[in-house]
C-alpha cells in the first residue's frame, strides 16, 4: 500500500505548532514595546499599576521643567544632536568602508598571494576580539594622536568592526561575479571603463547595497568604542541611551529616548526589506 507522501517544506502550510510558535515569537519581539510606549507618556507609573497613576499630559502645566516627551524633544535631552551624530558617523563610515573594501575584496576574490590565509584570518579577528579588549588601548593611541573626542577619531575606530563584515559580503559578491562576464564584454569590444560601468557595477550593486546597509547598521549600534573615543564630547544614540538606563531603571524620558533610538532601526528595516532579499545576507555568512 502506497504511503501518502510527507508534505515537503516549500509549498506546504504551517503546522499548528508552528502557527502558535510564530505568534509567540512576534509577541516576544514586539510585546515589550507596549509598556515602553505607555511609560513614555507617564508622569508617575509605580507598581502595581497597570496604567500610569498620573499621566504626563496632566502634569504638564504644573511642572517647572519639561517632562517626558517635552524633555525628549527639547534640546536639553541632546536627542537631536545624538541622532545627527549617529547618522553622520554611520554614513561616513559606510562610505569610507565601501571605498577601501571594494578594491581589497576584488583582490581577495580574484588573486592569490603569499600570506593570503593569514590576511583573511586577520580580517576576521575584529569579529572575535571584543571591543572591550581594544577600547582603552585605542583611546590611549588616539589621545597621543590628538584625535580623542573628535569625529575623525570615532569614524576611524568604527571602521574596525565594520571592515570584516563589508569585506566578507563584497568578496562573496565578487566571487559570484566571475571574470567571464567582464571578459566577454571586453571581447565584444567594450573599454575598461564601459565594462566597469555597464557590467561590473550593476552586478555588484545588490551585494554592495547589502554590505553598505549592514555596515551602517553595525556603526549605528556601536556603543563601547564610541563611548571611549567620544570622551563625552560626541554623543550618539547608543551612548545617550546607555547613560540614561545604566542604573537599571527606566523613567518616562528614558522610555521616550529608547523609542527614538528605535526609529532609525525601523527606517533601516523598511529600506532593507524593500530592496534586499534574504539571500544577499545569507551569502556573506553561509561560509
Amino acid at each position: 500500500m502506497a504511503r501518502r507522501p510527507v508534505q515537503t517544506a516549500l509549498n506546504s502550510r504551517l503546522s499548528s505548532f508552528q502557527k502558535i510558535y510564530l505568534l509567540l515569537v512576534v509577541g516576544f519581539i514586539l510585546g515589550p514595546f507596549i509598556p515602553l510606549i505607555i511609560q513614555s507618556f507617564a508622569f508617575r507609573w509605580a507598581w502595581p499599576d497597570l496604567l500610569p497613576g498620573t499621566w504626563w499630559l496632566e502634569q504638564r502645566e504644573k511642572s517647572l521643567l519639561p517632562l517626558a516627551w517635552d524633555y525628549v524633544i527639547s534640546p536639553y535631552s541632546r536627542v537631536w544632536e545624538a541622532t545627527l551624530n549617529t547618522v553622520f558617523i554611520g554614513t561616513v563610515v559606510t562610505a569610507i568602508c565601501l571605498a577601501i573594501c571594494l578594491p581589497a575584496a576584488r583582490v581577495l576574490a580574484r588573486e592569490d598571494f603569499r600570506g593570503k590565509p593569514a590576511f583573511e584570518f586577520f580580517l576576521s579577528m575584529p569579529l572575535i576580539v571584543p571591543e572591550a579588549a581594544i577600547g582603552i588601548a585605542l583611546l590611549m593611541i588616539f589621545i597621543k594622536a590628538g584625535l580623542a573626542g573628535t569625529y575623525t577619531g570615532i569614524i576611524i575606530v568604527h571602521l574596525i568592526p565594520t571592515i570584516p563584515y563589508m569585506i566578507r559580503m563584497l568578496t562573496a559578491v565578487y566571487q559570484g561575479l566571475g571574470r567571464d562576464f567582464e571578459e566577454q564584454a571586453m571581447i565584444l569590444g567594450a573599454s575598461r571603463w564601459q565594462v566597469m560601468r555597464l557590467v561590473t557595477l550593476p552586478m555588484l550593486l545588490p551585494g554592495v547595497v547589502a554590505g553598505a546597509l549592514f555596515t551602517f547598521l553595525v556603526s549605528t549600534n556601536i556603543f563601547l568604542l564610541t563611548f571611549f573615543l567620544g570622551q563625552g564630547k560626541i554623543v550618539t544614540l547608543p551612548t545617550l541611551l546607555f547613560s540614561k538606563i545604566s542604573g537599571g531603571t527606566l523613567d518616562a524620558s528614558a522610555a521616550g529616548i529608547t523609542l527614538i533610538v528605535t526609529v532609525p532601526g525601523i527606517i533601516l528595516l523598511l529600506i532593507t526589506e524593500r530592496f534586499i532579499k534574504e539571500e544577499a545576507f545569507g551569502k556573506g555568512f553561509g561560509n
Partner: protein
C-alpha cells in the same frame, strides 16, 4: 609560464604593486590600529606603561594576580555560561523559526519585516525592554499582582540582576534569534527543497528529514552564525553591566571596573583582563572552527 622579458616583468611587477596598493588601506586600519591596540594592551598587561610610571616589563605578575584569584575563574565561568546558553537558545529558536519561514502563510510579508526588528536596533534598547518587563517593579510583576499571585514586588521571582543571568540571556536571545533565522533561512532558500522532497518520497518521516537532510545542509550557516554570536556574547559589556548580578561579574565588566578604579595601578590589571578575554575567545573560536573544518573534510566537503 613565468614572464621572461623585461616588458612583461615590468607589467607583472606593476600589477602586483597595484594589488598591494588596493589592499593597503584595509591593512593599515587593521594592522596599525587594531593590531596596534592589541599590542599596546598586551604590553601594558605585561607591565610596560612608562607613562604611568610603571616599567617592569616583562612582568607576569598582573596575570598571576588575575588568574590566581578564584573570582577570575568564577567570572570566566559566568561569561561562558551566559554566552553558551544564549547561543544555544538563539540557535534552536532561530532554526525553528527559519523552518517555519520557508513555508507559505498569510501575512508572511509583514512577518518578514517584524521578525527582523531586533537586528536593527542597539542592544541597549533590548536592555531597556528587559528592565521594563522583567524587573521586580516591571510589567510581568504587575500582571502577577493583578492576577493575585503576589502582594509585594519582592515576592516576584528575581529575574534581573542575579547570577543566573536570565535577563542577560533574554536580551541576547531577543537580539540574536532573528540573526540566526536570517542566516538559516537564506541558506535554506539557496539550497532548495529537492533533496527533502526526494527523501520524503523515499518514505522518510519528518524527524529523519530534518536530522539527516536539512541539518547537514544548513550546518555551514549554523556554524558561521553561532561563531559570530558566541564571539559577541563573550565580549559583550552593556547587558551584563546593567542586568548582571554584581560581583563576580563577567570578564568585560570586571575589566571596566578595573579601568574605572581610583587605584591607578589597577589599569594594568584591567589590561591583563582584556588580554585574557581576547586569548580565551580566540582560543575557543579557533578550536570550534578547526573542529568543524575537520568534520567537513571527513564528510568530503572541502
Amino acid at each position: 609560464m613565468p614572464p621572461h622579458n623585461t616588458k612583461e616583468l615590468d607589467r607583472h611587477r606593476r600589477e602586483r604593486l597595484w594589488m598591494w596598493v588596493q589592499l593597503l588601506p584595509v591593512m593599515v586600519v587593521l594592522v596599525v590600529l587594531f593590531g596596534g591596540a592589541l599590542v599596546l594592551a598586551v604590553m601594558q598587561s605585561l607591565g610596560y606603561a612608562p607613562w604611568f610610571g610603571v616599567n617592569t616589563f616583562p612582568d607576569l605578575s598582573y596575570f598571576r594576580a588575575l588568574w590566581g584569584e578564584w573570582s577570575f575563574w568564577q567570572s570566566l565561568g559566568l561569561t561562558l555560561y551566559y554566552a553558551i546558553v544564549s547561543t544555544l537558545l538563539s540557535l534552536v529558536f532561530g532554526i525553528i523559526l527559519a523552518l517555519a519561514m520557508v513555508r507559505i502563510f498569510p501575512g508572511k510579508t509583514l512577518y518578514k519585516y517584524l521578525y527582523k526588528l531586533p537586528l536593527m536596533i542597539p542592544y541597549t534598547v533590548g536592555i531597556a525592554l528587559a528592565v521594563i518587563m522583567l524587573g521586580n517593579g516591571g510589567m510581568l510583576s504587575r500582571l502577577a499582582e493583578f492576577f493575585g499571585f503576589i502582594d509585594d514586588p519582592s515576592e516576584f521571582p528575581q529575574i534581573l540582576k542575579t547570577h543566573y543571568g536570565w535577563g542577560i540571556i533574554a536580551v541576547y536571545v531577543w537580539k540574536q534569534t532573528p540573526f540566526v533565522t536570517l542566516t538559516i533561512y537564506a541558506v535554506l532558500l539557496g539550497v532548495g527543497r529537492e533533496t527533502e522532497e526526494a527523501a520524503a518520497i523515499l518514505g522518510a518521516n519528518k524527524w529523519q528529514i530534518f536530522f539527516q537532510v536539512t541539518l547537514p545542509q544548513i550546518l555551514p550557516g549554523i556554524i558561521s552564525s553561532t561563531l559570530i554570536i558566541f564571539a559577541f556574547n563573550i565580549g559583550a559589556f552593556e547587558a551584563p553591566f546593567i542586568l548582571g548580578g554584581g560581583y563576580p561579574d563577567t570578564l568585560p565588566v570586571i575589566a571596566w571596573r578595573y579601568f574605572n578604579d581610583a587605584d591607578y595601578s589597577l589599569q594594568l590589571q584591567g589590561m591583563a583582563t582584556v588580554v585574557s578575554i581576547a586569548l580565551i575567545a580566540g582560543f575557543i573560536l579557533y578550536g570550534y572552527l578547526a573542529f568543524y573544518r575537520r568534520y567537513e573534510r571527513r564528510i568530503g566537503r572541502s
